[in-house]
Symmetry: C2
Subunit: 453 residues, 2 copies
């Protein structure tokens, strides 16, 4: 009998609490500021768009936060998710490294996004909300919220970045099958959308614009709240179920990672796998590296500025201190829609600034090549976003081949690529190019950062 | 804590043997006949297109057949697959029935097909074969063989029914990503293909034609064999891993099915879940019903004839006794490509003829409606093929609501619908219609059945 290729926890081992890294930060997070007064925001400021339970989590300093039983019940449909040892990939790479991956593509929406969509839907339902608005880029977040809405009997309205709305009709159909309404953003349903369309009628949209529209719509109606799929503390908190499971699975494997790798758009899947391990480093000094991988064409952590900025284009959101390319930045149209955000989660930005996380960027062609190599060895076709983590893992394993070191690599395979076949077709047909971001545009967007006293 | 929503077996519980129902048949299967001599075929007759190990299994009467360890190693990546209790669906249906489903969509190819693709690739590799040809309709089988080929280092050539080749470029891209070659059938690469194209240059193909092409190509080259994704005994044998796991999982749930339901195209996923339970009925007289669900537009079991027929259009395959609509029958273009076969597995045909299996048919609109209802309740979007099983399960649960009976329903959710979003878009856009098969065409096709002494 060969060694295990996957480590499964039984349902009883599903974590009962999420891990809140705020409790272990060496320095507290810079405060979130009200966009008007530029003073630290209060829970009341957020109550217009978020339910109370979520606001409490957003600001909590408690290390372990209970996962409500109705949320665990839904989680149990596919969680604990499997941890795989990539033995065939190791063999193909001829590396002494041990490569593990946590596979979040087993969720019904095909990615890690339901980990936060479900509790957010639950808390909203509990507080009597009827409708949730949100934005989506690649569509993974919108899909997750759509099916969470179906479970909890909530109406879901998704502002989908127009270019994705057009390029990914199947993602849209997936959301609509679950009863969600999809609106191409910028749209004429909001003031922020109309303002953009007046200036640029042919705008293909951006996450920043779609967020503005969704937030505006939620603020305008009493029975409607807003949900965000990444960036904020409570979202990252919910995702830690990934890393908490992975810790127990690595124990089953009798191993501990030398490095933990995830791709970063807004930061939630990276935080999900990394924070529980990072907490051990912060509390107990365990030696482990953290590699946050982003696309070269939207290099928030590697080329952005650590500064206060808005989360959206119309400047309706609070100001958060984060790595940013400027809220006016619109990245080029590469095929990893989930990684096209101008900012980065404040917690990840803070920990990167303090030196605990090593950011790194790759171009899309090398990421697709890594994804195809991974698929041929492991049988799973990763989402273009996940390919960034795959690329870094392969890169590190190749370094081990050179050095002879048998490092233990853990990465998060945050979703499958079943809805991204056009991207793979373009890649295999030689139609994809590496894209560069416009340095001038970033400079301009950064010059326009809000001044904070 | 609520009751379980899924039952997971650990890796150690992965079956070590497949179950061969030939050992328990009340009457032996009618012999398979050589297409030329019409005498029972010998292993040598099949050696041109199948490896020896597969031929042995095809003809075996041994009840338990060992699953080779290298096959179990690949199985372990996603097997044992989960068994779910559909509690949310039960609630939505307000039924006293208990609904369980075995979910095969967790495999890397998204369906049950790898259960046989992997052993077939393994046996071919073991016997020195370099290349496997096959046919695919919907693309699930081709995808499964493509990734199995990548694992075992075999070249895979897939004849894909032309209409699917055109309608499903993403399925094709999926296969090509794993290194397989896809050829639209009918093609000019084979005599059978050229013969069809001469008569009907605009032919959109059929599974029967694609099988002829794949078999011809395998027969022509020494280093090339052929693999079939359904119908034959050894394929159904490999799929019994589904039902063997489900038996242990139903035990975990403290339950036993009153009925087992699966959709039937060639019959492999139905046999996979049903045969181990059917064996218990045959050996021990356990009371359990078996419902084989097919599309009304290709009603092999419900409207076909139990007779000797060819498996393909060009009459290259042996003659098998089965329910058939005639090998010349081309079904209308409904959206469940995997259920568009003119014949049915001989084992299933035989057991249906003997009264052990109850066949039933549904039209596509009611199947899609059931699929959407299932998705909203359970979060998983089924493949159009699987929707037939879903429809029957919901139908039975509704009957229980009327009668007040708390029956236990087990069905096989054989795959997800991520590559079938066009069908869902058409359905939700009101563009789908129920299709009727041409009765005259079936009468003609049946009139042309070969005469067997």
């Amino acid at each position: 009998m060969t060694d295990s290729v996957k480590y499964l926890l039984d349902e009883q081992a599903l974590p009962k609490t999420w891990y809140n890294i705020n409790a272990d930060l060496p320095e507290p997070l810079p405060p979130v500021l009200h966009p008007g007064t530029k003073q630290p925001i209060t829970p009341d400021d957020l109550a217009m768009i978020f339910p109370r339970a979520v606001i409490e989590q957003e600001m909590s300093q408690i290390r372990e936060i209970e996962i409500p039983e109705p949320v665990r019940e839904v989680y149990r449909q596919w969680r604990p998710s499997p941890l795989h040892r990539a033995r065939r990939l190791e063999k193909a790479l001829d590396t002494p490294a041990k490569i593990y991956y946590k596979y979040e593509g087993v969720s019904p929406a095909g990615s890690h996004k339901p980990n936060t969509a479900i509790p957010q839907a639950f808390y909203n339902k509990q507080e009597g909300v009827k409708r949730i608005t949100t934005e989506t880029g690649a569509g993974q977040w919108g899909s997750a919220l759509a099916f969470s809405g179906a479970f909890f009997g909530l109406e879901i309205v998704v502002y989908m970045v127009k270019v994705s709305f057009q390029q990914k009709p199947y993602r849209r159909a997936f959301m609509e099958t679950f009863g969600a309404t999809c609106i191409a953003s910028p749209s004429d349903t909001t003031e922020s959308g109309r303002a953009i369309l007046e200036g640029r009628p042919d705008s293909t949209g951006s996450l920043g614009i779609a967020i503005s529209e969704a937030v505006e719509m939620a603020a305008r109606r009493d029975d409607t709240k807003y949900a965000l799929g990444s960036v904020l503390n409570h979202v990252l908190l919910h995702q830690t179920v990934i890393g908490l499971e992975a810790q127990r699975q690595m124990e089953m494997a009798g191993d501990y990672p030398d490095m933990v790798i995830g791709c970063t758009g807004g930061g939630s899947n990276f935080a999900g796998i990394a924070f529980p391990f990072l907490g051990e480093r912060l509390r107990e000094g365990r030696k482990v590296d953290f590699i946050a991988v982003e696309p070269s064409a939207c290099p928030t952590l590697t080329k952005g500025k650590f500064a206060y900025d808005f989360g959206d284009t119309a400047h309706l959101t609070p100001l958060v201190k984060m790595y940013t390319l400027g809220s006016g930045f619109v990245p080029p149209g590469f095929h990893a829609g989930g990684l096209r955000y101008h900012g980065m989660a404040p917690q990840i930005s803070h920990l990167t600034h303090l030196g605990y996380i090593d950011p790194r960027s790759y171009n899309q062609l090398e990421c697709f090549a890594a994804g195809v190599q991974f698929a041929k060895a492991e049988g799973i076709l990763p989402a273009p976003e996940a390919n960034h983590a795959v690329k870094a893992a392969i890169h590190e394993a190749e370094k081990c081949r050179e050095s002879g070191e048998a490092k233990t690599i853990l990465f998060n395979l945050c979703g499958h690529g079943h809805f991204d076949m056009q991207a793979y077709m373009d890649y295999m047909g030689g139609k994809l190019k590496d894209l560069e971001y416009a340095e001038g545009e970033v400079a301009m967007a950064l010059a326009g950062l809000p001044s904070v006293p």
